[in-house]
Amino acid sequence: MAKAKLKEHRINREWCKGCGICVAFCPKEVLELDEQDKAVAVRIEDCIACRMCELRCPDLAIEVVVEKQESAT
């Protein structure tokens, strides 16, 4: 299977409660909390689209959107 290519982190600021779970467990330290304690993706280029932030978010506030990949032949 081809590697997923990241398009964007869709973060719902209304739903994010700033618990910091996504920030702490991101293997590439892509995310941070801003001055309002909301998650933001600050090092997008490092993201490997593992989606651990999305799967561990208790508030369903983050979605890792990847570009559609053609499966490797």
Binding site: E14, W15, K17, G18, C19, G20, I21, A24, F25, M52, L55, R56, C57, P58, D59, L60, A61, E63
Partner: protein, 267 residues
């Protein structure tokens, strides 16, 4: 379907505290149902009372929010009348094993095809942090300010002893495992119990100086190990996670249908 197709968006953001493990269980449950490709119409979620039980309000399935500890009794009624539906019962540790302790063991004994998800945060969060039957000795709670002296239940051992035919344990840290286990539990033809070790940073974490949600989740990684791992031999205190029991035994609704057929035989 996308995640948002399974939830009632109008009730979000949900009422759970920042970092509450129950939100992660909600997340894992959605992934499990998504993987199964089940329609929302095929699922009935029945819950009782407590922080955990609020999950039924957030999921866009057929849902019943019933009374404390009695979710499994209501669920039994639903399942017997419509056995073709998948019935999921999310419960808290207090709801499942204290107030609903008898319903829990008897549902397990009957082996009725219901999926019970016990979201174990070891505390009564909604009412202010009273100790539950899962708090454990030595822990602090609002009602145990000098430490708790009650021994705790082991959900897995209890479910096994009561006759549940699918018994598993996972944590909110191990989200891939959680989704996989919930998926297998829903597919299982019989009573399935899934204990999900969850964190209550507001009451359990703060009272017991375990830090916030992140520290509590790191702890869950440290204190658990896959079933049968080498680490368990070296450190017997580790809590095992994975599927403990997966048995094929007569399911209650199927047995009941046979009785109906037999009883109607003469007519």
């Amino acid at each position: 379907m996308a995640v948002n197709d399974y939830i009632r968006e109008r009730f979000f953001p949900h009422l759970w505290c920042a970092g509450c493990g129950h939100g992660i269980v909600l997340n894992g449950l959605i992934r499990a149902v998504e993987k199964l490709g089940m329609s929302r119409n095929e699922i009935v979620m029945v819950s009782g009372i407590g922080c955990s039980s609020r999950i039924s309000g957030y999921m866009d399935f057929h849902t019943l929010h019933t009374i404390h500890g009695r979710a499994l009794a209501f669920a039994t009624g639903v399942k017997l009348s419509k056995p073709e539906l998948n019935v999921i019962v999310p419960m808290g540790d207090g709801d499942a094993l204290s107030i609903g302790g008898n319903h829990f063991i008897h549902a397990a004994r009957r082996n009725i095809a219901i999926t019970a998800i016990v979201m174990n945060n070891r505390i009564y969060g909604m009412t202010g942090g009273q100790y539950s039957p899962l708090t454990g000795p030595g822990m602090l709670a609002t009602t145990a300010p000098y430490s708790n002296i009650d021994q705790s239940f082991d959900i897995v051992e209890m479910a096994k002893a009561a006759g549940a035919t699918f018994v598993a344990r996972t944590t909110t840290y191990h989200v891939h495992q959680m989704a996989d286990i919930i998926r297998s539990a829903i597919l299982h033809e019989g009573f399935s119990v899934v204990e999900v070790m969850s964190q209550c940073p507001t009451y359990f974490g703060r009272k017991n100086k375990q830090g916030g949600a992140v520290e509590m989740m790191k702890r869950m990684k440290e204190i658990t190990t896959p079933i049968g791992s080498k680490k368990k031999v070296e450190n017997p205190d580790l809590i095992e996670r994975g599927i403990f029991v997966e048995l094929d035994k007569p399911e209650y609704c199927s047995e009941y249908n046979q009785i109906i057929e037999r009883a109607m035989g003469g007519y």
